[in-house]
Symmetry: D2
Subunit: 352 residues, 4 copies
Amino acid sequence: MIRVKIVGAGGYGGVGIVELLLGHKQAEIACLADINDVGAPISRLYPHLAGYCDMPIVSVSDPKAAEPVDVVFFATPDGVGMASAPKELERGGRVIDYSGDFRFNSPEAYTDYATRIGRNTLHAAPQLLPEAVYGLAELHRKDLNKKTRIVGNPGCFAVSCILGLAPAVKNGIVRLESIICDCKTGVSGAGKKPSATFHYPARYDHMNAYKLAGHQHVCEIERELSLQAGQGVKVTFTAQVVPVCRGIMSTLYADFNGKIDRKALVDLYNDFYNGSCFVRIHDRDCGIGSSHVRGTNFCKLIVDLDERTNRMRIVSHIDNLLKGQAGSALQNMNLVCGLAEDEGLRQAPKYP
Amino acid sequence: MIRVKIVGAGGYGGVGIVELLLGHKQAEIACLADINDVGAPISRLYPHLAGYCDMPIVSVSDPKAAEPVDVVFFATPDGVGMASAPKELERGGRVIDYSGDFRFNSPEAYTDYATRIGRNTLHAAPQLLPEAVYGLAELHRKDLNKKTRIVGNPGCFAVSCILGLAPAVKNGIVRLESIICDCKTGVSGAGKKPSATFHYPARYDHMNAYKLAGHQHVCEIERELSLQAGQGVKVTFTAQVVPVCRGIMSTLYADFNGKIDRKALVDLYNDFYNGSCFVRIHDRDCGIGSSHVRGTNFCKLIVDLDERTNRMRIVSHIDNLLKGQAGSALQNMNLVCGLAEDEGLRQAPKYP
Amino acid sequence: MIRVKIVGAGGYGGVGIVELLLGHKQAEIACLADINDVGAPISRLYPHLAGYCDMPIVSVSDPKAAEPVDVVFFATPDGVGMASAPKELERGGRVIDYSGDFRFNSPEAYTDYATRIGRNTLHAAPQLLPEAVYGLAELHRKDLNKKTRIVGNPGCFAVSCILGLAPAVKNGIVRLESIICDCKTGVSGAGKKPSATFHYPARYDHMNAYKLAGHQHVCEIERELSLQAGQGVKVTFTAQVVPVCRGIMSTLYADFNGKIDRKALVDLYNDFYNGSCFVRIHDRDCGIGSSHVRGTNFCKLIVDLDERTNRMRIVSHIDNLLKGQAGSALQNMNLVCGLAEDEGLRQAPKYP
Amino acid sequence: MIRVKIVGAGGYGGVGIVELLLGHKQAEIACLADINDVGAPISRLYPHLAGYCDMPIVSVSDPKAAEPVDVVFFATPDGVGMASAPKELERGGRVIDYSGDFRFNSPEAYTDYATRIGRNTLHAAPQLLPEAVYGLAELHRKDLNKKTRIVGNPGCFAVSCILGLAPAVKNGIVRLESIICDCKTGVSGAGKKPSATFHYPARYDHMNAYKLAGHQHVCEIERELSLQAGQGVKVTFTAQVVPVCRGIMSTLYADFNGKIDRKALVDLYNDFYNGSCFVRIHDRDCGIGSSHVRGTNFCKLIVDLDERTNRMRIVSHIDNLLKGQAGSALQNMNLVCGLAEDEGLRQAPKYP
């Protein structure tokens, strides 16, 4: 059994991986750590878990939280994972970090990111950056293996955009300077902490754009697309919130370089994701939407184009808390532990 | 492997049992039958199932739908199950019916029910009524065994009310003529068929009482409580819809016969449900609500009383599509097939 | 023109009276006061008001907030209105207070209330209590006139319950010890302040009972019903939240003393509210719900009974922010200023 | 008093203009006509109007529906208005049509539209097309005057996109071939008729793109932008539905021809809409969203740009049922009747 510790267990990202691990046949939860709610069973914070997981939360400074495990998930904000990762590695654990701490594997790239989001540009563990792997298995599967010690789990918006654009960018069929990501997220993406913006009466019949001046996920989108393109890529990115709970719908636009028809485009996407069990390609008449990926680790891509303007249009759907967070994290754990990529992720979702 | 057929697979009740069976280790889906969408994979109707279950729907008159199976779920309206049950039994299958067809095990009781809901009072298979078992395991577990051939799966409101009231009624601590069931259901309880009442703009910020003149679930509530009481019981029942998708919250009132304190009341409920893994007893400070049972087969009862008026108050929470329908159905299948009662029902739900 | 000051202008109760006053032909807003957001135009807090009302909020300690006005609305929590009322009266203003401060017109009654909600039982201005009028015009219209200086605006749940029960209680047709109020409120009733309970992801598909140990509105319900009955009345009251924004649906039960038919009951209610333009009586087949009172000052009562158990059942619908708060407040202002009762309250709502 | 008839009174578009006219000081409703619910008071269909408007619906073939009025609103689908307009004009009424029937003032332009939406390309009253005015006052105010007899009220998506793009297109600051309209609408935009797509359980936590192959509103967007540009314009348009009731948020992108800074861009927009009381310009830090235009006739534009890619980004918010439909219709009526443009449209909305 793979023994797992979750740091930041009390947030939506923490509870998301707990839910998944409860159905995983080869892993078990060894420790739930957090800085809040210490001593409380997680099922007091999350009563839906009562009878499924009643393990108490321990303080991150508790000796129990320092016992060696096989995998540590840092479901924590920027800065936490990088401070603790060296010690975890020393103890023999692998680290899967949800924040931006390990999404950029050079100090320069990290500095760029930190600058944009207004954080200290000095990484606390720069020596680890070269070995960190960006945890989007569909692009980096070969680097996610038993030798991998550190995974930078991708941002939710980034997953939806990168998966939607990578095949076109990789194959050079779109003008790189024409890419636009129009992204809509459900409210759970903002996490568990109450705020005026996510107060029910202010949110239930409300949609809005936010962070127009710049969103932190742009850095990783541009970095990953640049890697695919073999040259620098800049995108226009718009973050928007709509009153759904779970789900991201990213509508992605780019001008074609030449002519391509719908069938060829769909084929190109199917080819690119051949072997990626969590990406599904649909055409414009599929009738799918966000609730059809809710509760799953799928990314469903509607691959489309506007013939009249010769422009590509991809509609990318994920569950922001699964493929956009805990689901990708578990997928990464499976890969770095040598398990089947979809272990613990095969459970059918519930609808409606 | 237990081979299962689902008649009415295309409705919410059908897809609910499909979702559960996909995670059941000792059962497999042999046939999905319906009168609509024949030939379509169920994942075309329900795209969330794509990759999980892509089995086509066959017509109920198709020879494939007549092949013998071990268990047949009739996820169908009143009248369908009773017409087909004799033939299914002949073929060696057990029948679990979602409608009122087999909830009353005497022709007289059925006639009473049929009268109230304005249906033909003659049952199509009256010879089967004596052996039909009301499928609420918490009250009829001993009759749900390998000899059981027919189960009348209970109504969703009924489950929430009966489980909330049975311990008090059985123990004679409340005045039987004082029982009030104030019930609120989520919209999925009305099924998949669109209507003006459940059109999103008319429903999203709307709550209302309905069927004030009489709701069909009252019959089974009164019948089951009468069996517990050993005498006739009549209740006042109010059905209400609120804009949640999944969930029933029934607030149940009854005057105490004598004095009882909160602790004793909670103990009495705990005793009654000792051995019933899907009922959980809470006290008034628990802070739980409908989303904490969503996606589970639990009935969570807040056991409370109003000291000032010496009145019992129970708040009963279930997921109307699980403990209120497909979950109870699978629980019943497990019992009549001699399996663990919670097989296929242990999966942790997802939140938020 | 009647000059109006609103203390606590930045909360939902404050903005609610602002919205109404903007459409009132004989009143104008003289001052918006609050302890937060001082200096900001109210349209910065509430962008929906931009172009309608851009008046800045002044500090309650600002000299401008001390200028005499004709009417002061205290849209403030318990304790604020009682501290300031004497000074406002001195300056010649009438006081309409949203809290419990002036809902009880004897020190004893106030003490009872304060005890139940765990506040200091000493009223800060006990000398004013005898002249305070409980601001439910349908019961106290004759005391709401140009001589009235202080109005205790009723609680939202209380409005829905008292209006639903008063005719029956007054006419002695129900057993007083059998009254049950099962109340469901929309989330706006909890005000503007974010909290874990009203965070969108925790609330959108969630319903729950709360404050089971006792809700502050019970005091005024019991007091007003006792006045109608001419004897002490105790009720069982259950507060519940459902995911609508605006609306209260209170389902009210009481056993009849004798026999009464539906028609007679409806007539009795119609007679009682003859002359009350904001109460509308419906029968059980009306098909109405909360969105049909949203944006209005109506209380719509579905007057019904359960023949089988000889029990009265009333379903009372109000918009908690209007008839349950700012609408009643304006209705009270109109009466104490000698204006038409519905001035500023005749505007048709918008649907859906 | 201007006497008004509404054809199609029973739909959301019809009831929307009814609500507004009830607060209009110089107009009165003379007739509500429809093909459904004939004889019923409109308040039976829409109980929120009880006490505000209880006028019965008459059949369109009823003689009462043929009595002369000053203004006729056709709140009807394509094809209805064009069939009846000649007769209405003969009787001396002005026609304001909600459909595409009079949005294109040449037979060729109409044919193009009809072809795209798969309708008969022959207009039933082609002789009227030359005098029809596209009812977007902000662009055609000078043609909306007492001589105007026919107004083609614009489509909801079109209003949001055209208002958001016209200043940039008119001033030649963007590359015309680079325009993208990413539009999100609330569910009320689909009207009152129930369907599987808008059934509450299928819609409440769901967002999706639809009509990817082509949406009928594209024609008018392109036509109006072409008029502004003085040359043909083609746009990429994506229609998406999110679970809000009222509101459209259109995010509009275009590459700049040269360099322009944010301040200059905002100034250009402010200049363009100088004198247009229903358009408000905001910058990226405004924090507004759809609920801040709900219940109003405003179009609120967040005027922004992406410096890194030299691309314009406008976020356009309207209430789809007001500025996107009935509000614009009333604004048009005011103009063609010589009234203040905002008569009946000044009422403050309610929030939350």
